[in-house]
């Protein structure tokens, strides 16, 4: 077995190759489903303005009745850490096997890099989940969030005024619309469009976000409704002209309609405030394990909740 003794601490830019994959390879970040700020040092101010009217020209300076309002929201990141312990026996064999695949193998030639990438894949999934449903109660109240690392976008929306929100009961289904209060995905989509504010209605940049499970329900509905599964594959990408986006970490039984530039994810991965440690305890405690520690900040924010619409399950 290859000598896998590692004991290295990376700080700042040196840690970027180890920490960045853990965050930026998240599904929503890689596909551009959210706006990303990669160099946030604890806080970032997101500007928003509304109002402002065009009036007839005159010689006097007269402010309109409803003038332009410049507001801002703050994206505050949370300090996070990753502590993973990996058995050298298992992972070293995987690494050696990957090396044996030949020159085309994409496995890194350093054991420390191999371990960091292994951990990064796990962290990336966690970041993806927390980005959308961090501290989010899937039942509105009485439920238990699945991930609690930092507040996700749906948590932030639920904590806001929810201006354009519809609460529904029960899990989503693939039933065709019937009574208008059924649990069918088609009914919920109709409700979502009905809640959509005029700011984003009809805008081609407006997206409908749903989970993969919800999208599956939608796909099944289209397939059964059109009696054509093949046609449904293409049809399911859009709903009434709005593109349907399916982030890997979106919570089930809820829908969100907004623009991508209205939802932000912030992190300090490209600053000098990150850290990565890869420690082989074989020579320290005798345990044939390697500990990986990463330190970074992450957080989310919605710029204007009134520019979004949602359908959420509350019971």
């Amino acid at each position: 077995m290859a000598n896998a003794t590692v004991n290295t601490t990376y700080v700042g830019q040196l840690a970027t190759p180890f920490v960045a994959p853990a965050i930026l390879s998240a599904d929503s970040i890689a596909n551009g489903y959210v706006s990303v700020l990669e160099n946030v040092r604890h806080e970032a101010v997101l500007k928003k303005f509304s109002g402002g009217t065009i009036a007839d020209r005159s010689c006097t300076f007269t402010t309109p009745a409803t003038g332009m309002v410049l507001g801002d929201v703050t994206l505050t990141t949370k300090q996070l850490q990753v502590n993973e312990q990996i058995c050298n026996k298992d992972l070293a064999q995987d690494w050696a096997a990957a090396q044996m695949r030949g020159a085309d193998a994409s496995a890194p030639n350093a054991y420390a890099n191999f371990i960091s990438q292994y951990v990064s894949r796990i962290v990336a999934k966690d970041v993806e989940l927390n980005m959308w449903q961090g501290n989010y109660d899937p039942l509105g109240a009485g439920g238990t969030p699945s991930v609690t690392s930092f507040n996700g976008l749906m948590n932030l929306y639920a904590a806001s005024s929810e201006t354009n929100n519809t609460d529904v009961a029960g899990a989503f289904t693939a039933l065709s619309p019937s009574s208008g209060t059924d649990t069918g995905i088609a009914t919920h989509l109709i409700q979502l469009i009905a809640n959509m504010p005029s700011d984003i209605e009809g805008d081609p940049d407006t997206k409908i976000f749903m989970s993969r499970k919800t999208f599956s329900l939608y796909y099944r509905y289209l397939a059964s409704d059109n009696n054509n599964p093949v046609l449904a594959q293409e049809v399911a990408k859009f709903y009434l002209g709005y593109e349907v986006i399916v982030p890997a970490g979106f919570p089930d039984d809820c829908l969100l309609a907004t623009k991508i530039d209205n939802i932000y994810f912030g992190t300090n991965v490209l600053t000098d405030m990150i850290e990565a440690r890869i420690l082989d305890l074989t020579a320290v405690t005798g345990d044939a394990v390697t500990r990986v520690a990463m330190m970074f900040d992450a957080g989310c924010q919605i710029v204007d909740e009134a520019s979004a619409a949602a359908v959420q399950r509350t019971s």
Partner: protein, 244 residues
Amino acid sequence: MTLSDRINDLFQKFNVSLKVSESDVAKETLAELTLDNGTVIYTDAEAFSVGADAYIINEEGERIPLPDGDYTIEGGSIIGITDGKVSTSPAAPADTDLETNTNMEKVEMNEEQVLSMLNERFPDLGAEVASAIAAAVAEIYAQPEEEVVAEKDKEEEMYAEDKVQEPVAEAEEMSAEEPAQPDPIAEVMEQLKAVSAELTELKAQAASDGVQRQVATPAKVEPVDMSKLNLNERVEALFNQFNK
């Protein structure tokens, strides 16, 4: 060692005593002329008439025939030599055209020149006869003083006019033959303008490039399109991208 010395050595060697007298040799050459370059030419004849041998005598007493050509003699006359013999007598002009010869310039010949020439060419003539002939010839060819002065003045005027006319003629020839020369002042002005422009440009430049300072800039990270990659590929791509 001259030729005579060498011969004497040979005679002594073989017990033969002979003496060579240069004056006797000189007497055998009846006539001689001095060229304008100082070289003395001789002939066996009484005069350098057409057909007479013409030669020079080197230091060793050897007779060397003159090469073919025309030679100028002191006094201005020309003697022509062909195959070592006189082809044109110095008394006759180089141009044998009688018409031109009739327009000979009057030359002033004094008695001494005539007497020396007679003694040279006709040594057997006798002193009294030679003197008489010289006096007669001198009287015939002597020019009045007035004509001499006038002729000198005329020569000087002609020389002065030629001097003035030559530059004018040269200028006219140059203007006719060569194209108009560029105005030097215009050239200088153009050069001055070019220099001024260059100086203005140089003034606008910094005296030096300044202190070179290397600013540490972070490596430029090129974005990777990860939308078509799965999670494993994204992790590896990002690691490689930031590990450069």
